[in-house]
């Protein structure tokens, strides 16, 4: 006999994996945007790519509780891997290029995670930053391969599936990115609702207890770090393939910081924060930052401080509070 309370908990856990209609909303919006805003498809593709990047970050920050300031390292490795494959390796088939770049980023993730994840707190933060800085330095100095500060240019990519050429209006780019992001989202969703995903939440909430019940904590953290790095690498490769260019910025600290900000503004550890935070941030940036990048930094900084002080949980957190208020008052 299971007692009723634990049965309720099991039902809730299993039920969380079921797809709710609301979860399809972002995809409906993304498809709708393709038809409605077809002159903004370039920005739209960038947003989709950053959503994927933020999603990969959510897996480690939101679920496993690993706070990192160097996630751009894997995004950048993916971006440069795709670029180098096409430019120097003559490998211009996009889908396999994406997978290879993801695998390279994943390998870098596992190697660095092996060192970084042994530490906690500020040391871990510093090591993630140092990983990013190291790779930035490497890409900057190895100008013969990466193009250094000028970026990697002259990347040619074959049509997707041999059928869809990357057109001038960005239609193929948008739909290709959308398909890749959707598949990765399905995977991430499946992952966080699996027993493995639950054990990550356990590690985030109480490491000692997870050790005590015999969970292989380090291995679990390393696994998710590798998966997250792979996904970030795919996002980076997508950026290179669709813009046919890779710049040093993809490896920069600013990139790591910005993606974390986007995730926080949307809401962390909920899988959907990325879908709100990234478009909000990037559309505002597109409007404001063009005129004065430093002004933009001020507003972003102020927003972060206010979010942390007053509305923990970001946009999704606010939604939760409002819904809870409405429900309490019938």
């Amino acid at each position: 006999m299971t007692d009723p309370s634990s049965k309720g908990a099991i039902d809730r856990l299993v039920g969380a994996g079921r797809l709710r209609p609301l979860e399809l909303l972002p995809w409906a919006v993304a498809v709708g945007a393709y038809f409605l805003f077809d002159s903004y498809l370039a920005l739209g593709s960038q947003i989709l790519i950053m959503v994927l990047f933020a999603l990969s970050l959510d897996l480690i920050v939101g679920y496993a509780g690993i706070v990192t300031l160097g996630h751009a390292a894997f995004f950048g490795v993916g971006a440069y891997a795709a670029g180098i494959l096409a430019r120097h390796g003559g490998w211009s088939e996009p889908i396999s290029g994406l997978l290879i770049s993801g695998a390279v980023a994943g390998a870098v993730g596992l190697a660095s995670g092996f060192i970084v994840l042994r530490t906690t707190g500020l040391t871990l933060l510093m090591l993630t930053m140092a990983t990013g800085a190291m790779l930035f330095e490497l890409a900057n100095k190895a100008g013969g391969i990466t193009g250094g500060a000028d970026g990697l240019q002259g990347i040619a990519i074959d049509p997707v599936l041999g059928l869809f050429r990357f057109d001038l209006w960005g239609r193929t780019t948008y739909l290709y990115s959308l398909a890749v992001v959707f598949l990765c989202w399905l995977f991430a969703r499946r992952l966080v609702h699996s027993p493995f995903g639950r054990s990550l939440v356990g590690i985030r909430e109480n490491v000692q207890r997870m050790h005590a019940i015999g969970s292989p904590v380090f291995r679990r953290m390393l696994t998710i770090y590798g998966i997250s790095a792979t996904m970030a690498g795919i996002a980076g490769a997508l950026l290179t393939q669709t813009t046919q260019f890779a710049a040093l910025k993809v490896l920069s600290f600013e990139m790591s910081g910005e993606i974390l900000v986007m995730l926080i503004l949307g809401g962390v550890g909920r899988l959907y924060g990325a879908f709100l935070g990234v478009p909000g941030f990037m559309i505002a940036q597109d409007a404001i930052a063009k005129t004065d990048p430093y002004n933009w930094f001020f507003w972003i900084g102020l927003m972060l401080v206010l979010v942390v002080l007053f509305v923990r949980g970001g946009i999704l957190g606010i939604c939760d509070t409002i819904i809870a208020r409405i429900r309490r008052r019938p």
């Binding site: 920050v61 509780g65 706070v67 300031l69 060192i115 042994r118 530490t119 906690t120 707190g121 500020l122 040391t123 933060l125 510093m126 090591l127 930053m129 140092a130 800085a133 190291m134 330095e137 490497l138 900057n140 100095k141 600290f253 600013e254 910081g257 974390l260 900000v261 926080i264 962390v268 430093y294 002004n295 933009w296 930094f297 001020f298 972003i300 900084g301 102020l302 927003m303 972060l304 401080v305 979010v307 942390v308 002080l309 923990r312």
Partner: protein, 287 residues
């Protein structure tokens, strides 16, 4: 031989700045467990305060450094009271985001007030020459850095080991609850320590303004190095931070001098190897 001496000498001068800036971070982290990524911003403000005081109001160098210490310390105390203390018990992510937000804001404000160019530092006449020592010439500015850094370290050490305030700080680092139980006002101690730490960062930024020029990206650009000093030294350890700053200063200088094509790569690799061996840092008590 000459090369070795100048690497050591420049490295030690650089290490002094790194130490004076980072030591406050180490203490606040050990005391309050607060991951304050905005610590570099205090050093940056220090650099700007110094150049403003000297260039606009014609304050001489030494009084300007002293005033910078006071100004930045005051800013630190105000921020601690208004913002930081709300997040002492909060998760690491919230602390990181809050302090990154503060860094972004300080970058924007500084750039708004001074523009994106580095601020020129006009050292006083008596710091620009060279000093003869054992038949070798040493730049006076760096000798002064080593001397004043040494004096600050000595003062800190005496203050922490020999005064009542220092005893309270050490008690609170070791066991906060016990310290509260025996009647130490930990709340006020936090503010005082935070102010001292930020003031020192400001003074470090001011003293080192000729080596680390004040620019709007200062707080981010040098943050990794400040964090390395704290993490390699071990959180909350004054001695550890000093040893780490020395190692970092000398290795970084040597690396840049001997293998310029490697850049900062060497220092990161060395640091990772060291932390793989001792995750809690050289003198850290806990990971």
């Amino acid at each position: 031989m000459n090369v070795l001496v100048s690497i050591l000498f420049d490295g030690v001068a650089y290490a002094m700045i790194l130490y004076v800036i980072s030591v406050g971070l180490s203490v606040t982290l050990g005391l309050m467990g607060f991951a304050n990524l905005a610590h570099g911003a205090f050093a940056m403000i220090g650099g700007y305060a110094l150049t403003s005081l000297m260039n606009r109001w014609g304050v001489p160098f030494l009084p300007a450094v002293g005033a910078t210490f006071a100004i930045v310390g005051l800013i630190g105390a105000l921020l601690e009271r208004a913002v930081y203390r709300r997040l002492y018990g909060a998760g690491e992510l919230d602390q990181v985001m809050l302090t990154i937000g503060l860094v972004f804001m300080s970058m924007a404000l500084v750039s708004f007030a001074y523009g994106p160019q580095p601020q020129p530092v006009r050292l006083p006449e008596w710091l620009t020459g060279q000093i003869d020592f054992l038949g070798r010439k040493f730049p006076t500015y760096r000798v002064f850095l080593i001397g004043s850094g040494g004096a600050i370290i000595l003062g800190l050490w005496l203050g922490l080991e020999r005064t009542r305030f220092g005893a309270r700080v050490r008690a609170a680092v070791d066991n906060r609850r016990m310290a509260e139980a025996v009647g130490i006002d930990v709340d006020r101690l936090f503010t005082a320590t935070f102010a001292l730490g930020s003031g020192l960062a400001g003074a470090g930024g001011a003293l080192g303004a000729d080596i680390l020029a004040p620019t709007p990206t200062y707080a981010i650009q040098h943050l990794v190095f400040f964090l390395i000093v704290v993490a390699v030294g071990g959180l909350g350890s004054l001695k550890g931070a000093f040893v780490a700053a020395l190692l970092l200063g000398i290795i970084d200088n040597g690396g840049k001098y001997l293998f310029p094509e490697l850049g900062a790569f060497f220092i990161y690799a060395a640091m990772m190897a060291l932390l793989l061996w001792r995750p809690a840092g050289l003198f850290g008590r806990r990971a």
